[in-house]
Structures are given as structure tokens and as C-alpha cells.
Symmetry: C2
Subunit: 346 residues, 2 copies
């Protein structure tokens, strides 16, 4: 290494002929220190190129001012946006955020939780991975007394605060919209995983069909991982049916995009022959031709609300917080991929 001066408050203290505690207090703007001393300390600190050691402070205080965020992946627009919302609030309160990706991998998720606990973060905000069915690692947070808030991919198996959007309502709106556009045989791409968001979207789908007296057909439910490639194969499966659907509602935008690609390759007209709708309002949904109808999840807002809910834990002192579930209303974004009757916007 080039140079490691390792300037500590002791060096500053020595230089000024005072003690480290005074320096510490001065740096923390403690009222018990005179302005003159503070000025001197600040000046000396600058001169010596002093860099505070948060590790030491964190050890002493038992508080790191860092909160951990766990998301399946940071490159999904939705999660990136939520993270941004959280960061906004956290930074305002002088907290730093460390972002960890579980890549929807259970082991990695467990490891990450452990790493964060060992790193002594002041709290964790997480969205549960798709493959996670055991929540013991999250329970551990509770045991250690460190606050946990979940968003989007949550579970009711844990007694923690959570922020979700009304996936049921979003799905219901999509399907209702498709029905109003004249679709009668609506397929649904969903996940085989026990993730609440997908279960809720499926429920919205079923209920909308029921309310409009459209028969539910099991063969129109295609389960997959909902990625682009899955959307493609799912669509191929649908096209192989004796009676093809006249609409597809995918629980993810990626799946919908895959379906759209396949339809274009098959020269099947969208939305005239088959309408397509996704979920999530990923940015690319507006770039396709036709642009994808989808559901916006107000990700930035979700991030902010999650953070606010999270910081409630620090306000009340030691009073145990009652877990709160905040449900946001999603918004249907109607675009070309489902618009069969021009000009008709509900």
C-alpha cells in the first residue's frame, strides 16, 4: 500500500494538547465543548487528513447507521425504483444503505441475512426470493431484535410490517379491461411458486372471470418462471391448444413480452386476434410494438413508504411495534397491446 497514516482522534488530541474525549465531543458537536476548541479540532482534523472510523464508533454505540436491503435482483426496474425510494428517505435520516441481491436463490438469501446480522446493520428491508419457502432466517432478525420490514414479495408467516400493492385488484382490473375489450378466452401466465403476489394475481384473474360469468378453463393457466423465454414457451403451448385464447394476461411483463414476440413471429395480430397484458410496468413495456398494457406498481412510492414504516421502529424507542400491512393501489396502464376498441379508456 502506498501510505497508511491512520490518523485517529488521539493524534488530533496530541497535536492540540487535549484528550481524545474532547476531540470526540468536538467532532460530534457536543454542547459541552467550547466553540474555540471545536474550531481548533476541526482545523487540526482537516490538516491531519483525519478520516473518522465508523467501525470503532459502531462498535462502541452498537449502532452502525447502515440498513441492509435484500432484493432478488437490483436490475429489475421495479426493485431498482423501490431501492431508490428507500435510499431517499434513509439518506435524509443519515442512514446508509447496503444493497444485496439474493438472485432468487434461497441459500444466498440465508447467507445474506447472516452476513447483514454479523455486519450489525441497524435493520433489514427485504423482498423475499421466489424460491424461499422457509422463513427461519428472517425470524432470526426478530430474535436478535433487529427491525425487519418486507415489501412486495412478502409473507404472512412472519410477524413483520410489510408494504405491498394490491395485486388482486391490479389483476382484476386487467382482466376486467380485457373482458370489456371483448375477450372471452383469457389465458394467464403465473408462477408455480408459493409467492403471494402471484397467488393474488391469479385470484384477481379468477374472480374477474367469475364476476363476468366467463368460465374458468384450467388449460389456460400456464405456470412458469415468468421470464422472457418462459413467456415464449408458454405462448407456444397456448397456440398448440385446440381452441386458442383471445387474450393473455401474464403475471409479469417479461412473460408478456415473450408472448408478444412469439405472436409476432407467427404473424398473429396483437391485439386484434390475441390481446396481451403484463404486470409491473417495466420501462420496456412502452417500447414494444404494440406497447404493452400493464399494471403500474408505484415502486418509488412503495420504497418511500417502506422506509418510513421501517424508521418507525427507531422512533418509538423500545416500545414493541405492532406489525403493519400497508397496501397500495396499483394503476392499470392501457396501451396498444389490448386496445381493440379505439378511444375506449375506462
Amino acid at each position: 500500500m502506498a501510505s497508511k497514516p491512520k490518523v485517529t482522534i488521539h493524534h488530533i488530541a496530541e497535536k492540540l494538547n487535549i484528550t481524545a474525549s474532547t476531540v470526540s465531543r468536538a467532532l460530534n458537536d457536543n454542547p459541552r465543548i467550547s466553540e474555540i476548541t471545536k474550531k481548533a479540532v476541526l482545523k487540526a482534523a482537516k490538516q491531519l487528513n483525519y478520516q473518522p472510523n465508523n467501525i470503532a464508533a459502531a462498535l462502541r454505540n452498537g449502532k452502525s447507521y447502515i440498513i441492509g436491503i435484500i432484493v432478488p435482483t437490483a436490475d429489475r426496474a421495479f426493485f431498482a425504483s423501490v431501492v431508490r425510494g428507500i435510499e431517499e428517505i434513509a439518506n435524509k435520516l443519515n442512514y446508509k444503505v447496503i444493497i444485496c441481491q439474493s438472485y432468487d436463490n434461497y441459500e444466498k438469501e440465508v447467507q445474506t441475512i447472516d452476513a447483514l446480522l454479523s455486519a450489525r446493520v441497524d435493520g433489514i428491508i427485504a423482498s423475499i426470493g421466489k424460491n424461499t419457502e422457509n422463513f427461519d432466517h428472517y425470524k432470526r432478525c426478530h430474535e436478535k431484535g433487529i427491525p425487519l420490514v418486507l415489501f412486495d414479495r412478502t409473507t404472512d408467516a412472519l410477524e413483520v410490517s410489510q408494504v405491498v400493492i394490491d395485486d388482486y385488484l391490479g389483476a382484476y382490473k386487467v382482466v376486467e379491461h380485457l373482458i370489456l375489450q371483448g375477450c372471452r378466452r383469457i389465458a394467464h401466465f403465473t408462477s408455480p411458486k408459493k409467492v403471494s403476489v402471484f397467488k393474488e394475481r391469479l385470484r384477481g384473474y379468477t374472480d374477474a372471470l367469475r364476476d363476468y360469468e366467463i368460465p374458468f378453463d384450467e388449460e389456460l393457466i400456464i405456470k412458469s418462471n415468468l421470464q422472457l423465454e418462459d413467456g415464449r414457451t408458454s405462448m407456444e403451448k397456448l397456440l398448440a391448444l385446440k381452441v386458442q385464447p383471445d387474450a393473455v394476461f401474464s403475471a409479469s411483463d417479461y412473460g408478456a413480452m415473450g408472448a408478444l414476440q412469439v405472436l409476432k413471429e407467427h404473424k398473429i395480430l396483437v391485439p386484434t386476434e390475441i390481446a396481451i397484458a403484463g404486470f409491473g410496468n417495466e420501462p420496456f413495456t412502452s417500447f414494444s410494438d404494440p406497447a404493452l398494457t400493464t399494471v403500474d406498481q408505484f415502486s418509488l412510492t412503495m420504497g418511500r413508504i417502506t422506509a418510513e414504516l421501517f424508521f418507525e421502529h427507531f422512533k418509538g424507542g423500545d416500545t414493541k411495534l405492532v406489525p403493519q400491512k400497508t397496501v397500495l393501489k396499483p394503476e392499470l396502464i392501457i396501451r396498444g397491446s389490448t386496445l381493440r376498441k379505439p378511444g375506449r379508456l375506462p
Copy 2:
């Protein structure tokens, strides 16, 4: 808080009637501790629900096993991918990664560096923000003796290792391709910022024109922030010219996508009337109609290489590392938005 047992190695030691140092060694699998003791310690640790305190260890060792990554934004596929590549290597070596976003904001970037230094990370890997023209905060890393490696958005003003792709070559290939497709009046979207990648792409553009004896026309160079909206306004500017271009090469995929949207709205045929090419191979480039010709940056590879270069710092011991610059070769991805002569793939 619910419960804060705060189990330390001392509790384990007490329980087993040994000392804390023995416990510490046992937990670290030190050969000087007998297997029997190790087993007992591990068992007691589990029983007591012990959670190691990395903060204390880091303070003592002066090593946190955390490296900080600074990217302008984590939600760009390119950066997300690089991060993933870095994480892959880092995790293998038992390092944790903390991802920080500068949002291309200079102040935030400076703050982040300071925060990371104070957090005593073992090193920093960064991509410089668009608006950063002063690099003193990066120099500070060097002063403190903590390793720094830059990728993609780098600068030669700092004596540090860096990993970049050959932006010049990528741009050259794009423009050459456009010329071979018969385009003669090729516009270029670039950034007004002093960021090397954009300067290099511009240079590739100019050189390709020169090599093919196509006159350079200043009015075809449009400077903007290269986001979607910028692409739109830039395209509008081009359309307002007396002599419109027959191709647009945007230094970013977002800009290209904006241009494409405007052209479609104006019912101008792509690529027949105006061909469009971007740079970066963002996933959405394959979703548009026509799909966007662009340049792939091998982001995952870049992440891996960056990480490997970074960890070189730890291998050599205290020998000062000579800064190394690794240049990756980009790949031209030809898609519909520039394919005027069917079947002609170089």
C-alpha cells in the same frame, strides 16, 4: 426491541470454562485448537444462538471484508450486470459487496466515497458519474491506501487500474456498418460531458467517416444527456434540418430508442428512410420494432475482470501495484433498425 441477548464469545467462554481467545480461535478454525474444543465451542455457539460481530473483528483486524461499489445507477442493465460479475468473484473470495448509487450526482459521489472510507471498506470499485470533473475524492482513496479500480466510466487523470471496453472500436464498427448499409448522412447523439466513453465513441464515429471519405457535418452532432426524452428532442432537431440524415448513431440505447419513437410517430420508415443504432445492448433494444442495432459491452465479463484486477491488490502484499488498463473488445449486434440490405451480415 423484542430481545437483545447480545451473546459474545465471552459468554461462550464462560459456559465452557475456557477463555475468549480460545473461543475466537476455535470459531476461526485455528489449528492450535484441538478438535474436541472446537466441537464444543461450535455446539455452545449454536446453543446460545451466537452471532459473530464483524464490527469488532473488523476494528481489530483493520479489515472488513467489504468492498464498496459505486455506480451511477444500479438499474441500468449494464451496471447491474457488471455488479453481478464483481459480486461473483468477490463472494468466491469471501468478500461482501456494498452497492452505492451516485445517481450521476457529483456531491453524492463525494459523500459516498467519504462514507465508504469511514465505513472502512477494504477497497472501492467505481464507475465515475457523468457530472464529475474533479477527482480529488478518488485521490483520497489512494492517500488512505485503500485500493481503487475504475470501470467503464474512467479517467486517466488518476493513477489507478481501469477496465473499459474499446468504445472507439465499437463506435467505429457501428458507423462502418451504417456506411456499408448505404447510409451517407449519419447523425450522432453524444454527451456534452467530459466522459471518456462518449469522447471515444465520437472519435470512432469521426474516424469511420473519414476512412470512408464521408464529410463530417457539425450539425449532425447532437449533444444531450442521452436519455429517452433527450433522444426524442434530438431526433426532432434532426428532422428540422434542411437536409435530414439517413442514419442516427446514438451513443446510448436510450437515446436511440427515443429517436426510434419519434420516427415512428412521424411515420418515417426505419431503417429504409432513416437507420438507427444505439450503444450498450440494453435488454429493451431487442424488444422494439424494429429491434435496435447496438453494441454489446460484455458487462458480466467486465465485472469479473474488474474484480480480478481489484483483488490483485491484495495478493502482492505491500508491493505497489502498477496501474493497469484493460481494454475489452465490444461486439456489434446487428438488428432490424439498420438492416437495409437483407441477409447482409458482415
